[in-house]
């Protein structure tokens, strides 16, 4: 499975395009990190890919097929989305939230079957949140919520997962836990596209990187090619030192360390 964007222009209705000429592709079993300063249009790009807002120009293909005329049902079979803000007004149980991921195959008039329950349970076990199943979604911590949303997206059985800042507002430990689960999803053969504010995340999961910049063409390539001291300076306007070292198994690791004068 391959998701490709060709010459995509994104904008909100009636406004000048936020992003121009976006070209990149993601294959299943691959992680693609979207980097870029605040307000550069990362969420807009996601919404365009998901057809939540109309694109102005260009084409989005999945396995060479244009998704312009796909129904929400068909879209949901291929792509799942975890947005940034998601707290329902009512205290749904965690297992009910995860089960909702099955709603595409349940469809409008159906009821969840045993198979749906089982898939939802497997997704919970996979994300390591099965011990929370009886808790109210509104009562659990931010990191747990993020994992619940990942489980819900996983229950949808998509080929591509689109995550909008999955690690925003998480403490250090939860952030690493969520990142390791995302890497686990990649190993399961799901293509992951995510936005993040930390270039380290891209190194952490050996992803490809799309770096968006204001008024400049985007950069697309492997993390080692795109995340350079010069590019970070151009995109964010700060000085960063790239550090390379070996972990205890002898693998080459990279990290960014900002330089504050």
């Amino acid at each position: 499975m391959k998701l490709e964007l060709h010459n995509v222009f994104c904008c909100y209705d009636g406004y000048p395009p936020v992003l121009k000429d976006v070209n990149f592709s993601v294959s299943s079993g691959e992680i693609c990190c979207l980097l870029g300063p605040n307000g550069v249009g990362k969420t807009t790009l996601f919404k365009t890919i998901l057809k939540l807002i109309k694109k102005q120009h260009g084409e989005i293909l999945i396995d060479g097929e244009n998704i312009d005329h796909w129904s929400p049902g068909k879209m949901a079979k291929h792509m799942a989305y975890v947005s940034q803000f998601h707290v329902p007004p009512f205290p749904y149980k965690v297992r009910d939230v995860v089960l909702l991921g099955r709603i595409n195959s349940i469809s409008y008039f159906g009821q969840p079957t045993d198979l749906d329950y089982r898939i939802a349970e497997e997704a919970m076990v996979d994300m390591g949140i099965d011990h929370l199943h009886d808790k109210a979604y509104t009562d659990i911590s931010g990191g747990e919520r993020q994992l619940v949303m990942l489980a819900r997206a996983l229950a949808q059985e998509p080929n591509f997962l689109i995550l909008d800042e999955p690690t925003a507002n998480l403490d250090y430990g939860n952030m690493i836990r969520v990142m390791s689960k995302i890497r686990h999803l990649k190993d399961k053969g799901i293509g992951v596209i995510m936005t993040t504010h930390s270039p380290d995340h891209a190194f952490m999961c050996q992803s490809t990187v799309v770096m968006l910049q204001k008024d400049e063409p985007l950069l697309f390539g492997s993390c080692t090619d795109v995340i350079t001291e010069k590019n970070l300076k151009d995109a964010y306007g700060i000085s960063v030192k790239l550090v390379e070292f070996f972990d205890h198994k002898g693998r080459l690791m990279r990290m960014c360390s900002p330089i504050i004068d």
Partner: protein, 381 residues
């Protein structure tokens, strides 16, 4: 988030699900039993004055009535003796009237509670009330015009009154929707705008109504009060037909979609990406909820408060899953409104002798609402 010894394996999750289903079923059965008891009790209330009759007499009356109805349909010879049979039974007509009133009350209560659950769900707002779109004011305006035009005759002109109430509710609803559409020009059809416009238009109509109320003669005022507050209830066949049609038309779509309503609980974007079009769901909920609330308030008076509290009670007892709320609010809505009706039939109040059901609903609902809100507040953040 620790994993390890407290990880539950898949089979025990499965058992848990079965247990939960069992618990929900048991709770539903208990509720239905309480409902049947309450209904039986309300059969023992007299309609003409505050008094109780023996349950045996009430049941006897009801059975005779059922027999006679069947006999009338099937043209059995029993029907010819009906007058002789009835004359032997004490309080026969009162029991039959009480039964019909109770049925209308229960059906109205069910519809109100369901409409409330729908609105709260699709607007993702725990205090969204289906009366917000102006139908309640529309109905009151309809009754007011009717009373001003026909005075006392308004009591007996059942069909005409329904035409007035329904058409006024519809007109106000259309005005609200059109104004809302104009107000949200440029954007997509924004539901919040519509609700705000609905509240504003309701207020304007209420000003109009209170002006006329102030100007009205006492006689007319009593007619208006009795009809609009649900003291006087029509129990002719036509009432049952209209209410029944409204009930069936609005409940069937909700019954079919009862699981899908959960999909809109997060956000529209989430629903879209999960493969469900939230606009279709919301549109159906809006239409069906409005039919429900209009029918219930035309037939049962101004008792909109039920729609606000029953879904909260159900959520507290059964959890947030809409499928359970759907069944539970039907039962509890009918039960609560019937209980209010019984209370209004059990005591003498004030100068006219009866306290309108709407006042009792508010009186009972307000403390329940406060309790439920306090209980649920931790869930909302």
């Amino acid at each position: 988030m620790q994993t390890g010894h407290d990880v539950i394996n898949k089979s025990s999750l499965h058992i848990f699900r079965a247990e939960e289903r069992h618990r929900t079923r048991r709770l539903l059965v208990i509720s239905i039993a309480a409902f049947v008891l309450l209904f039986a009790f309300s059969m023992c209330l007299r309609t003409s004055q505050v008094d109780l009759i023996s349950p045996v007499v009430a049941m006897q009356n009801l059975f005779t009535w059922l027999k006679l109805v069947v006999a009338k349909w099937l043209d059995l010879p029993l029907y010819l003796e009906s007058e002789a049979i009835i004359s032997k039974l004490p309080f026969y007509f009162e029991t039959v009237a009480r039964f019909k009133i109770s049925v209308i009350t229960v059906v109205s209560g069910m519809m109100l509670a369901l409409a409330g659950a729908l609105y709260q769900g699709v607007f993702r707002n725990p205090i969204a009330a289906p009366t917000m779109l102006g139908v309640a004011s529309g109905i009151e305006l309809g009754i007011l015009v009717m009373v001003l035009k026909y005075a006392n005759a308004a009591y007996s002109m059942t069909a005409k009154r329904y035409r007035y109430c329904y058409s006024f509710a519809l007109v106000i609803l259309l005005i609200v929707m059109l104004t809302g559409k104009i107000a949200s020009r440029g954007k997509k059809f924004a539901v919040t705008d519509m609700l705000l416009v609905g509240a504003a238009i309701s207020q304007i109509i209420n000003v109009l109504i209170s002006y006329y109320r102030f100007e009205m003669e006492d006689e007319l005022l009593i007619v208006f009060q009795e009809i609009s507050s649900g003291i006087y209830i029509n129990i002719q066949t036509i009432s049952f037909i209209i209410l029944g049609v409204a009930f069936i038309v609005s409940v069937i779509p909700i019954h079919l979609l009862r699981y899908s309503f959960n999909a809109v609980c997060f956000s529209d974007d989430d629903a879209f990406t999960m493969g469900i079009n939230p606009r279709i769901i919301r549109f159906i909920a809006l239409i069906c909820g409005t039919i429900m609330i209009t029918a219930a308030m035309v037939h049962c008076g101004n008792v909109g408060m039920i729609s606000l509290i029953v879904p909260h009670i159900c959520r507290y007892l059964f959890g947030s899953d809409f499928k359970k709320i759907y069944y539970a609010s039907g039962i509890f809505g009918g039960m609560l409104l019937l209980a209010c009706r019984d209370i209004s039939g059990l005591f003498y109040f004030g100068y006219s002798g009866v306290l309108p059901i709407g006042s009792i609903v508010s009186m009972i609902a307000a403390p329940i609402f406060v309790i439920v809100l306090l209980q649920q507040r931790k869930g909302w953040e």
